[in-house]
């Protein structure tokens, strides 16, 4: 029903509400900020999967969710000691301009803009072109070996050990020392745009694909391979990607429609460890697209807009597109739709994706081939 005067915040009861989240909670800007920041910390804290001093590669698209994720990492690293995040971030941006039908000039402009954003963080960053995916070694199609065979320290031991070391450093320098950030990697100079021949090759591959759905899958796969390769060669053991709750719910239903129902847990869960040595983590999966958009607006998180993946004339929309349209439409009338889909996904086990041996693993997505052997 229409409200003609401002509503108070449901949390502090004092500030006037700026937005409604979940099913009807009106929050003021300050309480919303606290809620948003707390959720990120709680997500990482609850899962206890990122160890202090670990190198984590943040996959950034310039879009709303991954930009919000970057901001949370920045905030988390700069917090006072007790609650500070303790890992070592690096950033990666994949330029997909060729398959998004951008001209060379637009791609250059985009990259320059993105590079400015990345540089401003002070973290080491990597700019790669999607064209490079076609030149990856075949080893990218194998899961990597995990670091060592001896069991590592428990999370609690690791944190305690890290804090001890920090204290020792302080005593030695006689002053405060910040966690070592980015002294091992220097930021790479912007690679030149790929050659026309490389771009042509990439476009040929994409144009040979017959449906928008398959093209989207291909893009996702090549992007993942590129990010994995960068992570591996640069010593990152974790990759963070910015899928929001909304995105995860759409992906869940889309993947089921694509026959990937068995792998929903690894495709959409908080942890995706199919690659072996590098684990993918999705810390934004509890935030709705609306929460992210409002956060970015209120707190000036910079984003860039890129055009969508190209489609051929008169091509039907992809399955993902249809699911998005469907889900968002139902969500309008039933505001717990997306969270319900998301929560259902949480209940599924990642086991079906685990292949027991090499021959039983899909080359492209590294999940178990779900065929019955020997029948």
């Amino acid at each position: 029903c229409p409200h003609s005067h401002p509503q108070p915040c449901v949390k502090c009861k004092q500030g006037s509400a700026s937005l409604i989240i979940r099913v009807g909670d009106a929050f003021c800007r300050d309480c919303f900020r606290e809620y948003f920041v707390h959720k990120f910390r709680a997500m990482l804290g609850k899962n206890r999967i990122i160890f202090p001093g670990e190198k984590v590669l943040l996959a950034l698209s310039g879009g709303a969710a991954s930009s919000a994720m970057l901001r949370q990492v920045q905030e988390g690293l700069s917090r006072e000691t007790a609650k500070r995040l303790r890992f070592i971030p690096g950033l990666i941006y994949v330029d997909e301009g060729a398959v998004r039908r951008q001209s060379l000039a637009q791609r250059e402009k985009n990259l320059a803009h993105m590079e400015t954003l990345l540089q401003a963080t002070g973290f080491p960053y990597h700019l790669v072109h999607l064209e490079a995916a076609l030149e990856l070694p075949a080893s990218i199609l194998q899961p990597g070996m995990r670091g060592s065979c001896e069991p590592g320290p428990s999370y609690k031991e690791a944190v305690e050990g890290f804090i001890q070391e920090q204290r020792q450093d302080v005593n030695r320098d006689g002053g405060t020392s910040l966690p070592c950030l980015g002294t091992q990697d220097v930021p790479l100079a912007t690679p030149h745009l790929p050659t026309a021949a490389q771009t042509q090759k990439l476009l040929q591959v994409f144009e040979a694909v017959e449906t928008t759905t398959a093209r989207e899958e291909l893009l996702q796969m090549l992007r993942t391979h590129l990010i994995m390769q960068t992570a591996r060669t640069r010593g990152y053991t974790k990759v963070m990607t910015g899928e929001s709750c909304t995105r995860v719910a759409i992906k869940l239903l889309t993947n089921m429609s694509l026959g990937r129902g068995a792998f929903v847990a690894v495709d959409t869960g908080f942890v995706d460890d199919r690659h072996g040595d590098v684990m993918v983590v999705r810390p934004m999966r509890d935030y709705t697209a609306k929460e992210i958009a409002f956060y970015n607006h209120f707190f000036d998180v910079p984003t860039i807009t890129v055009p969508p993946l190209f489609t051929k004339r008169r091509e039907k929309p992809s399955i993902r597109h249809l699911i998005e349209h469907f889900l968002l439409g139902v969500q309008e009338d039933f505001p717990s739709t997306i969270s319900t889909v998301y929560r259902t996904g949480e209940k599924l086990s990642p086991d079906p994706a685990k292949a027991s041996c090499e021959e039983e693993r899909c080359l492209l997505c590294l999940c178990a081939l779900d065929i019955a052997w020997g029948e």
Binding site: P2, H3, S4, S18, A64, T246, A293, F294, T305
Partner: protein
């Protein structure tokens, strides 16, 4: 009849692509007998500002699901959504959350 002045309409998150890439539009709405509520505003935007593919911005008389509306930096859900009556100098921001990252 009402006239409604000094509005800035902003389009972000990809929504600007439907408006010639222009993110900010400064507008004085013309005189008309019907009140300038968001419902009528959307009709006006569709006729006067939207350059292509109206179905990507609107669905029926409202915005397409996935497009957020902020009136003076507040969620339109707090203000009555389509029924909100525009005041002079009100700003409206449309943020698309579709195919984002």
């Amino acid at each position: 009849s009402t006239i409604s002045v000094g509005h800035c309409f902003y389009f972000r998150g990809g929504a600007e692509l439907l408006f010639d890439g222009v993110k900010k539009h400064q507008v004085t709405l013309p005189c008309q007998p019907e009140p300038w509520d968001i419902r009528n505003l959307l009709k006006w935007i569709k006729q006067n500002l939207l350059k292509e593919r109206p179905e990507l911005f609107m669905q029926g008389e409202s915005v397409r699901p996935g497009i957020l509306v902020l009136i003076n930096d507040a969620d339109w859900e707090l203000m009555g959504e389509l029924d909100y009556k525009l005041q002079d100098q009100d700003n409206v921001l449309f943020i698309s959350t579709l195919h984002g990252g």
